[in-house]
């Protein structure tokens, strides 16, 4: 049962000669949350896309023994993109149902309908079923998107900045849902996140990206240090331990 998402020597460039990711090696075990941190433009989103649907320029991605290729991979993975183009006119129920697209035929089965409802209830948004997605708040939209990603019961859950536009309560709710799902379904969850304190708190592993390379990786308390934050972000910061939590308190720019 020791499955893991494994990345071997992955490089990617949108334009020849301008690599966005260089020689990435990393693993993300099942049942754990792996947080990818790093400054804007360090390649976090691109890395997630390479794990999801983009073909890397070099290198390979594995789930256990199976290589990332073709339709089979899409069934293993769910991806929650950073930017929503949720201008579509559809209800939350229909929106979440679309996550099952691989199985959907013209007639939607009762089992599929039940699955949608179960996810909506699990996320505590069943009362929004009939609401248009265009009318949702940022937090509700993010939960609905998470539901859409979760409903296909993926082995690998990829979340691109799932909490970036959320208030403190929604942020906690969202991360709690992700954590619970990861544990219950034994998914390998990889997410990008900007808040270092939140990353330290919710993730089992951290991967630090800097200019397309992995700068450090490991358990949060091993990885995070004032030196690393200064090197990667150019910020003087203090790390304060508060019970189980590791707080990062920024000082000034270097």
């Amino acid at each position: 049962m020791n499955l893991e998402l494994r990345v071997e020597d992955l490089s990617f460039s949108y334009h020849p000669g301008q690599p966005v990711l260089r020689h990435i090696d990393m693993t993300a075990p099942a049942g754990k949350i792996t947080a990818v941190i790093g400054p804007n433009g360090s390649g976090k989103s691109t890395l997630l896309k390479c794990l999801s649907h983009r073909s890397p320029s070099e290198g390979t991605v594995y789930w256990g023994k199976s290589r990332k290729e073709g339709r089979r991979w899409n069934r293993l993975v769910s991806f929650l993109p950073q930017y929503h183009e949720a201008r579509a006119r559809m209800t939350v129920f229909e929106f979440v149902l679309l996550g099952l697209i691989d199985n959907l035929s013209w007639r939607v089965s009762d089992g599929e309908l039940d699955a949608v409802m179960a996810i909506l209830e699990k996320l505590d948004i069943a009362d929004l079923s009939l609401r248009q997605v265009t009318e949702l708040s940022g937090g509700q939209m993010q939960l609905a998107s998470l539901g859409q990603a979760m409903i296909s019961d993926p082995r690998i859950l990829l979340l691109d900045e799932p909490t970036s536009s959320l208030d403190i309560r929604n942020e906690l709710h969202m991360l709690e849902m992700v954590g619970r799902f990861t544990g219950e379904h034994q998914t390998a969850t990889v997410m990008t996140i900007h808040s270092l304190s939140q990353a330290a708190r919710c993730a089992d592993h951290l991967v630090v990206l800097h200019k397309g390379r992995i700068k450090a990786a490991g358990r949060p308390e091993e990885v995070l240090s004032p030196e690393l934050i200064r090197d990667v972000y150019g910020v003087e910061a203090r790390l304060v331990r508060d019970g189980d939590d590791l707080l990062i308190i920024p000082g000034r720019l270097t």
Binding site: E85, A88, L98, M117
Partner: protein
């Protein structure tokens, strides 16, 4: 916890039924109204016919008089059917154009496809130049069809160089639109008086050139294209979630865009070839459908089709009533009907889209 039990799994069906039930009802109503308008269309004309006469000619032709039979079967039924077919097809083309380009302004009209067809037709009218020899009576429609197909390919090729993003496709379409409008101006400059009149008449759009043969060809194309559009329903719905999400769901977005564009060109090319440029339906129909039924393509597409059929049927009726004895161009009327209808839906009460 008790509250959650109340919303147990049986109600998932209830929720879904409340979503789809409304749409099915909507489809039924639109279908009936379109049918009603089609019959009214057959009743209307220089020689008014009663409902009984029309139904008699349609369902008990043995008992009907020769004159009635001729008017209904030879003159008005093909036109009425063409209104339904052309309106539906143009609207469907617009709906899918808006879907694949993720742009509410996209339609066969704004993408330059109609303009290209118009130019092709005018070329045939002014110079008698055909791209296919021995086209005979089909010279004008064939030219229109070929030009609209070539334009789609051109738009694809232009935008393909930049990676086929929706934005580049819309820009390429607009560029093509201006190109053909300029070319039209040149043609009109050189055209003789009667030729100019023929061009203008063609550009207005008209259903009166419909024959059973032309209707048959149009119907064949429509029924050929329909299953391909319907078969991609879920993919097209998912495309509205954005390219990144659609890709992650395993959809080959580029290929889907390309295939759908080819189908749309086929539809538009055929319709424009036989009816001239009937504008606005491809823009208004899909918008009306989106607002009424949402974007689940299993409903969005048929509702778009019926909305378009309804508008053009209504336009066909009005075109015969406005100035009795003459046929006002229905292409002009579609805009006059479509604009207020669209505005009411956009600005009406209870709408907060953005």
């Amino acid at each position: 916890m008790t509250k959650k039990k109340m919303i147990g799994s049986p109600s998932s069906r209830a929720v879904y039924r409340s979503i789809t039930g409304r749409k099915k009802l909507l489809l039924a109503v639109l279908f009936l109204v379109t049918l009603l308008l089609m019959v009214t269309d057959i009743m209307t004309g220089p020689v008014p016919l009663s409902l009984g006469e029309v139904l008699g000619a349609l369902f008990r032709p043995d008992a009907a008089g020769d004159r009635t039979l001729f008017i209904v079967l030879q003159l008005r039924l093909p036109v009425a059917l063409m209104a339904v077919l052309a309106g539906g097809a143009l609207s469907a083309a617009g709906a899918e154009m808006q879907t694949i380009l993720n742009n509410p302004l996209a339609s066969p009209f704004t993408m330059g496809i109609s303009a290209a067809a118009g130019f092709g037709a005018s070329l045939a009218i002014v110079f008698g130049i055909g791209l296919i020899p021995l086209a005979g009576p089909f010279l004008i429609p064939l030219n229109a069809f070929i030009f609209s197909l070539l334009t789609s390919i051109l738009v694809l090729a232009l935008s393909g160089r930049k990676g086929l993003t929706p934005e580049s496709m819309v820009l390429a379409g607009i560029a093509v639109l201006f190109l053909f409008q300029a070319a039209m101006a040149v043609l009109e400059f050189f055209a003789a008086e009667e030729q100019l009149q023929a061009i203008v008449f063609w550009l207005f759009g008209s259903l009166s050139r419909t024959t059973w043969l032309r209707l048959g060809i149009t119907a064949a194309v429509c029924f050929l294209v329909a299953p391909f559009l319907a078969g991609n329903s879920w993919k097209l719905t998912a495309l509205r979630l954005g390219d990144t999400k659609a890709r992650s769901l395993g959809i080959n977005v580029r290929q889907l865009r390309f295939e759908i564009l080819v189908l749309i060109s086929l539809l538009t090319g055929t319709i424009v070839a036989f009816t001239g440029t009937i504008g606005f339906i491809g823009l208004a129909g899909p918008h009306i459908a989106r607002m009424l039924s949402g974007e689940d393509q299993r409903y969005y597409l048929p509702v778009s089709v019926l909305s378009g059929s309804l508008i053009l049927s209504l336009a066909s009726i009005l075109s015969k009533i406005i100035i009795p004895g003459t046929i006002f161009p229905p292409g002009v009327i579609t805009s006059f009907i479509g604009v207020p209808f669209l505005l009411i839906l956009l600005l009406g009460p209870g709408r907060r889209n953005r």
